[in-house]
Amino acid sequence: MTMTLYRHALNRALDEELAHDDNVVIIGEEVAEYDGAYKVTEGLWKKWGDKRVVDAPISEAGFIGMGIGASMLGVRPVMELMFYSFAYVAFDQMINNAACVRYMSGGLINCPIVVRGPANGGTNVGATHSHTPENLFANMPGLKVVVPSNARDAYGLMKSAIRDNDPVYFMENTLLYGDPAAASELPEEEFTLPIGSAEVKRQGTDVSLIAHGRSVIVALEAAKQLQEEKGVDAEVVDLRSIRPLDEETILNSVVKTNRAVLIDENKPFCGVSSQIAATIQQEVFDDLDAPVLRVTSIDAPAIYSPPLEKEQIPNVGRVVEKVMQLG
């Protein structure tokens, strides 16, 4: 059995989509000749050349906005942000232009663009490089936000994102790129996964751990520990897509287990988990045996100090502790 790493699954998806549609073009800082700062685009420039894989200067507002403009004319740009934190210097373009132009034109214009890159903490690079803006972008109607937790999902969702006719903001994770725990077995044949579909990654009966991105890996580890050490059988739901959101899978799981702990690397105030909690209490209040609890990042800018940053973002210990608080 050959396992494919998260970064290589993305690379395969990009390569296949470059072949699938001549309008697909990859643009970003160091994506071409350098082979990608995190090697996600490795080999693509050599294979596809200057027209299809393009090195951009450090100029996110400029080149992301340019990609949005090109997408209005039918080009399908896949833009890399070296860090998703850099979206903040392109925010006007990503919100006012990409998210709003279809609406403001009464549906006459659409923006088939993908903006992808790692959005995570945990790498000791300080607050400016550790943002997790999935909640910010998911707050904006017109945008789709996808956060895959493993190689298989990253592959299938990336292909769907590139084929989608709306702007898709695709958030990866530097810690998952080479993590064996996020690697998957990929079949030879191409496949896509639908955006807007969650997946139960582990069946359980006692509590639903609902997470996205790397927090799913944390939740799976925590579930294992809960089973072995506490005799608690946790179910793990992977959101995969934040917007659109698969509420059905979330609610089915909570109805089954009657307890929910939401694991979310966002900061707590208006994080993704805030939305999930609101939905759960509204839709299945009577099925709950306990309050919905959350494990989020500790509410401060990302700390540099390596051992403390491990504590600031959700980790196995904090998840186990929170589950045991449910009683």
């Binding site: 403009g69 006012n96 639908p194 955006i195």
Partner: protein, 358 residues
């Protein structure tokens, strides 16, 4: 004759202008008059509380949209900022759909979802209508990128005001335009004021704003914006550069707006003198200048002018009636036109929840 005597254009003999026949010259006159009468009608109905929000009027700048866009072909694309009504009419959008948009009606060009600052007509290569100062400039080079990527001979005409030249996004786009040889023409409509702040109080520059292009190696040119012949001649050179060499140009056109930054500009007559406004109206009004030019050329007479003018007034009045009688959008339509995949009822659009209101 009440037309003030103004200097005839030196650019009448430019090749691109010699190609114009009498009918085409009158058509350019008509387009400018239509814009002015549309804008005057907009102001009237704005003041009668028929519309909300902002209203940035193009009165005084008509020769720029009409002159530049008159040269555009099938693969030339246009994008501008929020003072966008003139460009909309110049690309061929109808007064009805534009006025209805101002009224917030379902028959508006954006179904009442965009408003004054956000007119679009992609079928006429018109990509807006953008509300954030200079936010359209990266989109403008994106259009140029798309034209070039598809192997077409065309250009992106990216309009901006003099206040936009100090935004970072504009400078980032300049760098990319030159770096990647993009067929974009930046047309700075310099009306002297970024809202209430004069150019001298807002911009550091040497010579002209367009000259900033030198730092990037971008060809630049400045011209009198009120002279339709000059606008066309200078635009033609920039279009040739874009079409033949895929190279950008910055073209700065001096112009003047008679009204405030928007109708909500309470200080419209405080940051400049009334004499200054009168000076521009009397000497550099683009309609008067063109009218005088055509009368001197024996292409136009007062009767024809008056006829065109009354037709334009009637058209604007009828557009307001159309807007008035049109329905507002339904509440259920608020969530239409957000996602392509949802609107088109595709498989992708049917997965998961897209809207989160109760």
């Amino acid at each position: 004759m009440n037309t003030p005597l103004v200097e005839l254009s030196k650019y009448a003999q430019a090749e691109i202008n010699l190609q114009l026949d009498a009918e085409e010259k009158i058509s350019l006159m008509r387009e400018m008059i239509r814009i002015r009468r549309f804008e005057e009608a907009s102001l009237k109905y704005y003041n009668a509380d028929k519309m909300g929000g902002f209203l940035h009027l193009y009165i005084g700048q008509e020769s720029i949209a009409v002159g530049t866009i008159s040269l555009c072909g099938a693969n030339d694309h246009i994008i501008t900022a929020y003072r966008d009504h003139g460009h909309a009419l110049a690309v061929g959008m109808g007064m009805n759909e534009c006025m209805a948009e101002l009224f917030g009606k379902a028959t508006g060009c954006s179904k009442g979802k965009g408003g004054s600052m956000h007119f679009f007509a992609p079928d006429k290569n018109y990509w807006g209508g953008h509300g954030i100062v200079a936010g359209q400039t990266p989109l403008g080079i994106g259009l140029a990128y798309g034209i070039k990527y598809k192997g077409l001979t065309g250009a992106s005409l990216c309009f901006l005001g003099d206040g936009a030249v100090n935004q970072g996004a504009f400078h980032e786009s300049l760098n990319l335009a030159e770096l990647w040889d993009l067929p974009v023409i930046y047309i700075i409509e310099n009306n002297g004021y970024s809202m209430g702040t004069s150019q001298k109080r807002s911009s550091a520059f040497k010579g002209s704003l367009a000259q900033r292009g030198e730092a990037y190696g971008i060809a630049w040119e400045s011209a009198k914006g009120h002279d339709l012949y000059e606008v066309r001649a200078k635009t033609k050179a920039a279009l040739d550069r874009a079409h033949r060499e895929n190279r950008p140009t910055i073209l700065e056109l001096a112009t003047y707006r008679y009204q405030g930054h928007s109708v909500a500009d309470a200080n419209a007559k405080k940051y400049r003198t009334p004499e200054e406004i009168v000076h521009h109206k009397e000497n550099f009004d683009p309609l008067n200048v063109w009218k005088n030019q055509l009368i001197q050329e024996n292409v136009l007479d007062e009767d024809t002018y008056r006829k065109i003018d009354s037709e334009a007034k009637a058209e604007a009045r009828q557009a307001a009636e159309f807007a008035e009688q049109s329905p507002y959008p339904e509440i259920s339509e608020i969530t239409d036109d957000v996602y392509f995949e949802v609107d088109k009822k595709t498989t992708a659009g049917s997965q998961g929840r897209h809207f989160f209101h109760d």
